[in-house]
Symmetry: C2
Subunit: 370 residues, 2 copies
């Protein structure tokens, strides 16, 4: 069991990472909440519930607690206001009140949406994250960012609302489809590139074991990645400065997702290509030594194969204009300057961006698997 | 011009109250924002815009600023998630970013909804309130409560998000329909009952002038009411204690609104009846002297006439169970113990509540106008 603390001005909580954690979930919650369990509402997907409900419910049954289960249809397409409204209506219909607790049990979509539901139901109730995908365990479950998509872009609607705790059971990763594991591991590569050269080196050395789902290797990578995010978020909760580095690869990544209607690439896969695009900008500017840049690009591709990108460069460039990180029309990019360190720049010209995107697309045509 | 400060742990801002304030709005904003105007988005209703757009826009035009106007159809029925999503889509389509500013120009529905839009667009952007109804000026525009309705109840979805400032132009009240003015004045009676015996006495003495829309009388009542709310909210931002007293009359008031589908009574009218119901509970318990209770009931009815209530007592009693103030099933009531002071109780029995509601309905059958 590994415990990592998140301490921000508005909330302090722990991320627990362990093999088989689900078996003791109710006991841990009971203790966290001072010796009693409130009314519990699980937000999950039918797929996750089919696989893990028995193990999830066992510890609650021993305490005589019966969580009410609310289902969210799977997939990014359901991450919309209408889903939140439907779930809020279900909460209201069964009398959930301000003391009730939501358990977000699923991947990033479930976590973001259930967290947002908790943020706005009766102007905010408590919730915990029980992430089931690699990506959710290392990234989306902590930090308090919650939200849903608009047709105009991802996560354009949302709130900052921290969970009471995050319980990441790495045993659940064993039922994850291989491409979801690989896509999630890209966010760990990101954590290494922006902040933790040792994590990056570990992922270079243990690529085969990680990609084969070796439990101890995955647990190590999850914990190291969570430590990066917990550290960054603790220092800059509201993304006024440092936290922006977590968006490395996300500006172009989001554009790729939007251009392909969120259907052809997983989030981590789009971010992987986005990391390569930002890396190319850094290379063009001689911000990073070629040997360092090559190690980064090599590791990203090694944790592939990544899917192709069916979108023209001009469209992708145009779509970066809608990025949430932009302020008063200024486009921000996170550029790696060496493994473990980045720089934030605001003066990337349209030509520079287009050239980097074209290089990325060229690479994608040569290397992409699907 | 009167300026009243709101100081909470999460925000400090001013409420400005004055006759003709709209004429200098852009200048005040320009100064507040450190000498420049960001991109501005006005959320308003077609009715308000038809009456006041010229006066609203004049000061911006002098500064070369052109706010983009987004319309929300009037009425409580449009205070829903789908309206927020539509407006958020319009913001995204024209490239509103985290530096943009929303101006909520309208009554309570516009203010609550535009404030919620600001709270969740890109996880929170800035907004100012420019309230146009008496109710919005004295109550809903300050305190940071924003939100929308579910079919299951009012304001069940929302956020705490404070405005940068509130600009209340009392000149705008002159175009308010008389029943809206009267309904709004009920919230000032509430402020007097719960916190400010001098305001209560002023409203007794100046009832005729207030109901005839005398500008100076209204400005005095608005300012005194705002002072009550600003004081209470400054002491208890998140409604953990004191702030609950602002909900006097609202438990049964919300039930009346829900039972009549938000169509037959204005919010202030429903709250007026709700204040009478809570007062009857206080009388049954001998919490308040009969002479004090009679003064309160008399003033509420004097600021009528109030509409009838087409709902059975049992339905109203049942609907109070969904109140947001309830915690783990405990029903809270704010009872006046004398003019200017209340007590919060959690042990109102179903029989007690039903009896008070029946007395209220009996009074409504005798006194109601419509």
């Amino acid at each position: 069991m590994r415990t990592i603390a998140v301490n921000t001005p508005s909330a302090s909580y722990s991320v627990l990472i362990g093999d088989g954690l689900l078996a003791t979930l109710a006991d841990r919650l009971h203790k966290l909440l001072g010796g009693k369990l409130p009314r519990l509402f699980v937000v999950t997907s039918p797929e996750i519930w089919a696989l893990w409900s028995e193990r999830f419910l066992a510890s609650f049954a021993r305490r005589g607690a019966e969580p009410i289960v609310l289902f969210l249809p799977s997939g990014e397409a359901k991450k919309r206001m209408s889903s939140v409204e439907t779930l809020a209506g279900q909460l209201a219909a069964v009398g959930a009140d301000r003391d009730s607790l939501i358990l977000a049990f699923g991947g990033g979509v479930v976590g973001d949406l259930a967290g947002f539901l908790a943020a706005i139901y009766m102007r905010g109730i408590r919730y915990v994250q029980v992430p089931t995908t690699f990506l959710a365990q290392v990234d989306s479950s902590l930090g308090g960012k919650t939200g849903v998509n608009l047709v105009h872009g991802k996560n354009l609607i949302g709130s900052f609302h921290h969970p009471l705790a995050v319980y990441a059971d790495t045993a659940v990763l064993q039922t994850l489809p291989p491409e979801q594991l690989r896509a999630g591991l890209q966010e760990s590569i990101k954590a290494g590139v922006i902040y933790d050269a040792r994590l990056f080196a570990y992922m270079e050395e243990h690529a085969a074991a990680a990609l084969a789902s070796d439990p101890e290797t995955l647990a190590h990578i999850v914990a190291a990645s969570v430590r990066v995010k917990a550290d960054v978020v603790s220092k800059d909760e509201r993304e006024s400065g440092l936290r922006m580095i977590l968006n490395y690869g996300h500006t172009v990544g989001h554009a790729i997702e939007a251009a392909t209607s969120y259907k052809q690439l997983l989030h981590g896969e789009a971010v992987a290509w986005g990391m390569i695009a930002a890396l190319r900008i850094a290379r063009q500017r001689n911000k990073i030594q070629p040997s360092q840049a090559e190690r980064i690009e090599k590791l990203i591709l090694q944790y592939g194969p990544l899917p192709a990108i069916n979108a023209p460069a001009t469209k992708l460039a145009a779509l970066t204009a809608g990025d949430k990180k932009n302020r008063s029309g200024v486009r921000r990019f996170i550029l790696p300057v060496r493994i473990g360190k980045t720089e934030i720049v605001t003066d990337v010209s349209p030509e520079e961006l287009l050239s980097a995107i074209e290089q990325m697309l060229q690479l994608a045509r040569r290397k992409a698997a699907r």
